[in-house]
């Protein structure tokens, strides 16, 4: 169209256009009502008077490339029509988000930079649906994430502690009880596995898990289990303490003491240490109570060892089909009932202590002695 033609025809053209420029330099014009559906563009037009011609094209944020812009405009073009029913809109949305994860992420980002909240919500929900229920490994693969947390960092939630002396007393009492039970079990048990497992140090385990894949599956399982045991034991202790404290609680509390299926399954998995790690986080979720684990000072280390030993013997009990869990449960319930009378007071005390996070340094040597956990860069 020549300029003259444009001058003649223009008054009859009801549509007006907004000029947009993407980061790569390309410029396009878009129907006004469609473009104005984006708050950011709307703002540029109204507040700054931009977009009315090619020379004054609105510079879109860098996160909006031409492909994303095209998608966004499709979305806007559909939704800016006022007469559509909710059903139609929902149907459009469902078809619209059918794209690969990478594009979904880019689209979320682009929509966010244009402040187009309905589209951000739509794409975010789609991404949430993709990742929910998946293991950390699977999610890392989908999003190309580096596994850059150290072991210690992954265990961090377990180390959250409180200084409440009553909690520590409970821990000790509980540890004592467990030890008694364990002694009883040991007498009944003739498994050799227990000795073998105790010989490994944590660092050995880590280097094995992260480097050497040549071992037979059997040994690998036991090593993974051992590493898991350490964590699981912390979990156990936490959950046991929790159970002591939470007499009134929903079923979760004592189920954990009863060595819930989840823990058992994790250890049995033996597929690889990394797969056990995310089940750790599940256990953290199940046992999550930062106020409980009182094992922070040195004098508790023997209790820690007891926990580990206890877990070993738990393993054995499981394999020899003995269930100590019921006894343990009853002990715990017992503690719980005795403590219940001053529950509100205790709550106050706990809450007023605040949250002091002290890292627990520990590892188990072959001879059962404890040494400081070396924070290596292993994964």
């Amino acid at each position: 169209m020549s300029e003259v033609d444009m001058a003649v025809i223009k008054p009859e053209m009801m549509k007006s256009y907004i000029w947009l420029q993407t980061a790569d330099g390309s410029i396009q014009q878009v129907e006004q009502e469609v473009a104005m559906f984006c708050p950011m563009i709307c703002h540029e037009v109204i507040q700054k008077g931009m977009g009315s011609s090619k020379n004054y094209a609105i510079s879109l944020p860098q996160r909006v490339n031409p492909a994303m812009l095209s998608l966004i405009l499709d979305y806007c073009r559909f939704h800016q029509v006022p007469g559509r029913s909710n059903k139609e809109r929902k149907s459009f949305d469902e078809k619209f988000i059918r794209m690969d994860t990478k594009r979904l992420c880019e689209l979320t980002s682009a929509a966010d930079s244009l402040q187009l909240k309905p589209l951000v919500d739509l794409t975010s929900r789609a991404l949430a649906r993709i990742i929910e229920g998946k293991s950390p490994e699977e999610i890392r693969e989908i999003f190309h994430l580096p596994d850059d947390l150290t072991e210690e960092e992954k265990l961090e939630p377990l180390k959250n502690t409180t200084d409440d002396p009553r909690i520590r007393l409970l821990n000790r009492l509980y540890a004592k009880k467990r030890k008694e039970l364990k002694e009883r079990q040991k007498l009944k048990n003739i498994e050799v596995e227990e000795e073998r497992v105790d010989d490994r140090s944590v660092d050995d385990l880590l280097s094995f898990i992260n480097g050497d894949n040549g071992d037979s599956k059997g040994i690998k399982n036991s090593k993974s289990k051992k590493k898991n045991r350490r964590r699981k034991d912390q979990q156990k202790n936490t959950s046991a303490n929790e159970a002591i404290k939470n007499h009134n609680k929903e079923p979760n509390g004592l189920n954990q003491v009863c060595c819930s299926a989840e823990v058992g399954q994790t250890v049995r998995a033996g597929v690889g240490a990394t797969s056990n790690l995310h089940d750790v986080e599940d256990d953290i979720f199940d046992n999550k109570n930062e106020l409980d684990d009182g094992d922070i000072d040195d004098e508790i280390d023997p209790a820690l060892k007891e926990k580990i030993d206890r877990y070993c013997s738990y393993e054995l009990r499981k394999s020899s089909k003995l269930t100590v869990s019921n006894e343990v449960t009853m002990e715990v319930e017992d503690f719980a009932r005795r403590l219940n009378s001053d529950w509100p007071e205790r709550m106050q005390e706990i809450l007023s202590f605040g949250h002091e996070r002290k890292p627990v340094h520990f590892s188990l040597n072959g001879n059962g002695s404890l040494r400081r956990y070396a924070n290596s860069e292993q994964r």
């Binding site: 992420c105 975010s124 190309h144 994430l145 929790e242 750790v280 599940d282 999550k288």
Partner: protein
């Protein structure tokens, strides 16, 4: 493409907050970047009920609860129920979903003759979170009713109501006579009335289940709390047919538990 380079933190927060508390805990394990986002207040605030500040402020808990990081607050409320409504109700969060979970204490129920010492007495038991629970000495007609405003509960949620009780050794009147349990939303058609025996003889199936806290519970019914929830839900437990003396029932309250969905 690494997602943290494509998406800004607040988008990632939004995505995580649209999953579940359990998923959010898992995501803290993914990488350094995800670790801080997944544990952030931005995410965990979304898992708390919308009116959590109001609930905590009007409870017997110290206000310092509100200064906890949101993730810690979430789990505190999951594992440490708080007393609200002047000590009449017990509140906690259902861990998997963050939905509100209440127990209406005996004091907040309408128990016929409860204030007549000849019939009922208020006692204090160490294994109840409430100050007082109601103990039945003797009635001929048993009537326990309660009601809760639906906007107290989480919307778009299925709830189950449980009658939480105990029976003392010296009890009678519940062995052969069933009680009628009923849950209905005011203004709607009455739901099915369940007829259960609270204290069946040994050879009969026990319908009440033992709880973790040592009390018994029996399901009264279910209801769905939709979005327009300016109504109330009403519960009742009745035995008013045989006029035989009854004794030895201890009432802690009625628990409203969000129903755990197995498929999301």
């Amino acid at each position: 493409m690494e997602i943290t380079k494509v998406l800004p933190d607040d988008c990632i927060s939004l995505i995580i907050s649209l999953t579940s508390p359990r998923d959010a805990c898992r995501m803290a394990l993914l990488s350094h970047a995800f670790n801080s986002i997944a544990d952030s207040n931005a995410v965990w605030q979304m898992f708390l009920p919308l009116d959590y500040i109001h609930i905590i402020s009007n409870s017997s808990s110290p206000p310092s609860l509100l200064s906890l990081p949101k993730k810690d607050l979430y789990f505190t409320l999951c594992y440490h129920p708080i007393l609200t409504h002047n000590g009449d109700m017990k509140f906690q969060l259902e861990k998997e979903s963050g939905k509100k979970w209440y127990m209406v204490g005996a004091r907040a129920l309408s128990i016929q003759w409860v204030d007549t010492p000849r019939h009922w007495t208020w006692i204090s038991l160490p294994d109840s979170r409430f100050c007082r629970v109601a103990k039945l000495k003797n009635v001929g007609r048993l009537e326990i009713k309660g009601k809760v405003k639906l906007n107290t509960l989480s919307s778009n949620t299925n709830y189950e109501a449980y009658f939480v009780f105990k029976l003392v050794r010296d009890r009678y009147g519940f062995r052969h006579t069933p009680v009628e349990l009923d849950v209905s939303i005011e203004g709607t058609a009455a739901g099915e009335v369940r007829s259960v025996i609270l204290d069946p003889p040994r050879n009969m199936p026990q319908q009440a289940k033992e709880r973790v806290d040592g009390w018994l519970e029996i399901e009264m019914g279910e209801f769905f709390n939709g979005f327009e929830n300016d109504r109330t839900v009403e519960f009742s437990l009745r035995e008013d047919h045989d006029d035989q003396p009854k004794r030895g029932l201890i009432v802690q309250g009625i628990e409203l538990r969000p129903k755990h969905k197995n498929n999301r």
